[in-house]
Symmetry: C2
Subunit: 144 residues, 2 copies
DNA sequence: TCTCAATTGAGAATTATTCTCAATTGGAGA
DNA sequence: TCTCCAATTGAGAATAATTCTCAATTGAGA
């Protein structure tokens, strides 16, 4: 996958600009984050990483997640259950989410029209939007 | 304001159905929640209540907020800063939010078209939406 | 290779929210 | 109005995700 390469380049250039280092831990965490699709918690990612290197610490995973979020390799999602989820952002289009409150399933969708209406609304209020989140909670087709 | 009456009626009928009691604390918390417009935290509401009755406990405020949320007198909003905000829901239309990441200001807006497109999208995925949240984060006209 | 600022691991600290439990109370029925 | 008991309360402990602290380690430029 060349997009993992792309993400690594993005991350290392970002670190270089900030005079920060690309350590072996950061490389491992990035790899594991990209290898596992979907949505995972910081703790889940820690588990993935520890399978490759049992010495990685929780603190380092949290610190790396903050960096990967800052350079837009990952995006943080909060579905209101007290823990944050992460998903890949680099190389992907923006999308919104359905969240099944029964089984926890997350479905992604894109809707250009909704995006446009949001921008229009922002213009009306003279508001500079940096990011946004749209979540629909309910039951998926299997659960309802 | 007759809508405070309306909210009280709604709340007491809700409690009656569940064989729960309308205590003096619950009445006070409801009053304070409705008297203060805008968005407030559980802790902020506790402060309001304690000005009227210093013996009210944190636990009771949290417990009452859960009930008021359940009967749709209040709505819970999570703007991702680690604490939940509450606002009046009863007697109001659904609305979405702009959140200024610099000054913290919250602007509400309604957009019927966006709501329709969301329902359409939900139909496509055969998803039964129970509630949804749309938040636009950025800088308000004063801050940008 | 040397140097040193940046990074790390381990565990303590933080903080919003929930839980526990003995004491209190609202309100249905006598 | 009085009694009774399930529901509620206050106080503080418990929980849990995330952040912080600090001594030891490490990456990369000179």
């Amino acid at each position: 996958m060349s997009s993992i390469r792309e993400a690594e380049r993005l991350f290392s250039e970002f670190l270089e600009k900030k005079k920060q280092k690309l350590t072996s831990q950061r490389r491992l965490i990035l790899r594991q984050a990209l290898d596992h699709g979907g949505h995972y918690t910081a703790d889940g990612l820690l588990d993935f990483c520890r399978k490759k290197d049992p010495t990685v610490s929780k603190a380092t995973v949290y610190r790396s997640l903050a960096l990967l979020k800052e350079c837009h390799v990952l995006e943080e999602q909060d579905f209101g259950d007290g823990k944050k989820l992460y998903e890949r952002a680099q190389g992907r289009k923006h999308h919104d989410h359905f969240v099944c409150v029964r089984c926890g399933k997350i479905i992604e969708f894109e809707n250009e029209k909704i995006e446009e209406l949001q921008s229009e609304e922002a213009r009306k209020q003279r508001f500079q939007v940096v990011y946004h989140s749209l979540k629909l909670f309910g039951t998926c087709s299997r659960c309802s």
